[in-house]
Symmetry: D2
Subunit: 297 residues, 4 copies
Amino acid sequence: MQMGMIGLGRMGGNMVKRLREGGHEIVGFDMNPESGRDMDSLEALVGALKTPRVVWVMVPAGVPTESTIAKLGELLEPGDIVVDGGNSKYTEDREHAASLAQRGIGFLDCGVSGGVWGAERGYALMVGGSAEDYATVLPIFETLKPEGEYGLVHAGPVGGGHFAKMVHNGIEYGMMQAFGEGFATMMRSEYVTDPAKTMASWRSGSVVASWLLDLFENATKDDPTLHNVPPVANESGEAKWMVEAALELGVPTPTTAAALWQRQDSRGAADDILRVVTALRAQFGGHVTKIDEIATH
Amino acid sequence: MQMGMIGLGRMGGNMVKRLREGGHEIVGFDMNPESGRDMDSLEALVGALKTPRVVWVMVPAGVPTESTIAKLGELLEPGDIVVDGGNSKYTEDREHAASLAQRGIGFLDCGVSGGVWGAERGYALMVGGSAEDYATVLPIFETLKPEGEYGLVHAGPVGGGHFAKMVHNGIEYGMMQAFGEGFATMMRSEYVTDPAKTMASWRSGSVVASWLLDLFENATKDDPTLHNVPPVANESGEAKWMVEAALELGVPTPTTAAALWQRQDSRGAADDILRVVTALRAQFGGHVTKIDEIATH
Amino acid sequence: MQMGMIGLGRMGGNMVKRLREGGHEIVGFDMNPESGRDMDSLEALVGALKTPRVVWVMVPAGVPTESTIAKLGELLEPGDIVVDGGNSKYTEDREHAASLAQRGIGFLDCGVSGGVWGAERGYALMVGGSAEDYATVLPIFETLKPEGEYGLVHAGPVGGGHFAKMVHNGIEYGMMQAFGEGFATMMRSEYVTDPAKTMASWRSGSVVASWLLDLFENATKDDPTLHNVPPVANESGEAKWMVEAALELGVPTPTTAAALWQRQDSRGAADDILRVVTALRAQFGGHVTKIDEIATH
Amino acid sequence: MQMGMIGLGRMGGNMVKRLREGGHEIVGFDMNPESGRDMDSLEALVGALKTPRVVWVMVPAGVPTESTIAKLGELLEPGDIVVDGGNSKYTEDREHAASLAQRGIGFLDCGVSGGVWGAERGYALMVGGSAEDYATVLPIFETLKPEGEYGLVHAGPVGGGHFAKMVHNGIEYGMMQAFGEGFATMMRSEYVTDPAKTMASWRSGSVVASWLLDLFENATKDDPTLHNVPPVANESGEAKWMVEAALELGVPTPTTAAALWQRQDSRGAADDILRVVTALRAQFGGHVTKIDEIATH
């Protein structure tokens, strides 16, 4: 089928490639003239599509997605459908859907997992929105997803796709932290000679066999102790949203939150906490507090 | 090759089957006369094996393993090898190895993962001990492990096999807790219609694709809300050992520990903590404390 | 000075008593005719006060506070001041202040700590709002607070009082959980004969000496093992808000969150997590899952 | 009464001063000739005491305490009593008591809290051992403790004093972390103008009033943002022991452990965990991994 794709970066560009290989006619646009775009404006892209149109938005969450959807609301016509495939927060989807609905335009939110591997392996897709809109875009989803029976779900009403993706990423945080704790424990122990090789051996037959473990072997192939990797980790936002959503819903998430905080701590988020602890210790016990003293303790 | 197997329960029995299918000559013994044992005493088993013997101990950790290894120490001869394939703590391995070494008997500790699925899928094996003893028993390991390049590792010196298995199980705790937190969050939300179906969809193409997720689909096939499963979880001991080992080594394990405590809490382990909290709240705020009042709040 | 008090429950009633003993002229109103109210309507209360009026709202957070402030917005006049002394969320204060400001009415948010002990011990007050409004109500604050130099702070602009109170309560959660963990550990150990007596001994000379520890001795005087207290704890909402605010701000709060989740778990919040864990264990290991089996394990 | 004191450092020296002011005859020894010691050898100290002797050991835990008690075991006579007032682990007390008992020498373990403030404020003491030995040393305890009814407890049998002190310190970790989380949250918020002043105001009338809060005001008097204090905190070992003991006993300690791990993280303990997280993110998402790139993100 025909579809417009807005955003031809690493994710969007790879998806277009997979879709074209799957026989779809994709018209692409990106702000960047060097992106390999087909059209040089949003207006031109909309003009190039036959009605009822489907336009997939694959740009960074927040302002870029906001403004793109707002503009599409002006350019598109009743019966058209917008798909937000970025990492928007689920609460924003309802606003987008409501404002597009006022003009008769449909909306689907689609969480996309798979990273740079999706191009060949297929993307895991979680979709929120009406059954009707879902059915319209289904041929696209079918091409993007991996072969086989898994990798695509109509998760729920509008917001459900991004909610599911958020939870997916929260779980991912917990799993990565769990592998990290295991690796770190073995690294400090005299019992395990080569922690990376030991973990790679779990890829078959073990309970923790997983795609992350497959990637772990890749990552450690040339750097088994990972000492070329900095001990600092960034966040993508979704684990934070999941912990917030869970707090709202009254669900405890100690593992997801621990994984989130571990990353935040690596970038200094706990510094003021530690200052209080050290200041109090100095007060009651005369413990060391000066930076140069700490360096030698 | 020829080997003695002590313990023919669910694990040991299945392993014997896989080994015999692999062409090995296994002589089995179990305390239980109805276990399908070949010999009716440890002495008879030892007598039936040609030297140098290999005897695999697959009985519950703790006293049963202790006493079996002690007896084998008396019955076996220099050059023989004992393999402890149970869930012993890594610290015990050194004691076992040392006492057997006094009589010239070798020792390997072997962590075995794979559960009831190992019989057909193969067992992930992590082995601790000398290179020489490992080489001797290698044909057995090769048959037990899954096909392909993974599933077997010589993890380190004596204790390394059980240390690696302990860490493996600690990671498993964290992963299961992470999946649980995600499922629970979606169960309480109005955004995701069918959390179990959504999670099953992640089996392909997603970052959290894993064997645990495959099992999760199995588990939820007939009970998508899991409401037939009690909200109580038991422990196997290994996550506790891992957190203890990590404390000893100075490695933080917030995710593994959170998973452990979640299970302990489900069996009342935090009751005295909660009593303190509620008693204090009643003191300063006149908050509700009586059981029947709580029931209606 | 003269002031209107709306809400004559346990908190409001005690505060009126303390204020009257301090020489203030308080006009009280409560929805409940048996509250000892001076006026039988909000209108009458407003009519009874000389301008510029000060009206303190001491009713439950949420709808009761919302509607009371909305009504006061209609009844009061420019130059009057509303004080919200309840447990409103800091984000609501800005809305209240903005809507009252449109009519020229001032607003202060005042977090109040001290519980049922405040009547005699004095209340710790944290106030948010303008310096001018703060100065106007200062005589009231001075009477409500404990004697001495502590117990009252102009914490910041509108919202600052409730933000500070929220953080105060979050800290309180962490402290109570810490005492609980200590008590529970000693209760299970054979080393400490009487955990309650041991903890009470820390009231002098120790680093953990605190008002909570004073209350702990009270609580355990007739029930040293606390076995008459149910192992279930409720929440007041403020720790949840603090963890949410900290997530928003990028500050890790593992201790506060652990205390919150411990309470939530005691009321079944983790049930779906545990179901996943137990269902998965049953899948890979054939572990026990039926309720009656668990009862005997 | 007469007593020998071994170890005249900050703690021991201050205690001797308080004891002498209380009318006791203290004979002091320290390895350091400049310590103001009365005797220049352990032998001389033992020789200077009338039987039955009481000797208080106030030296660092571990080897110094071990070797001192071992030597005392040779020098003392039946009926004498050794008090270990250092920070030994409770498990070591039983070994010390058993080896001294073989020679008829009594043993008490005494946890001492109060830090540098104890000299004037009195020390909180937790004692483990027999009722008889406790009664013998009671006059000493009575002088060291603060005035009033609190600050001294016969916590249990041998080991009980150090067990109680260990739990005390674990609680202290949780409390300090809780204050730290509150301070850090306010520091990042625009709602609270002066977090240190706000916290100091809680010293009266609030639920979190405590000695630690008194010390916090001291600590922030000249440095309200604590920016002269390094964001790094050391450990004393006792929280780690408490978490280990609680794991052994099956008691969850999420708050105590979080406080411990926060400190460990500040000294790089989680580095290998973070390396795994960042290496995996780079694998699946092409996320930033190089140190110089991180510096600019």
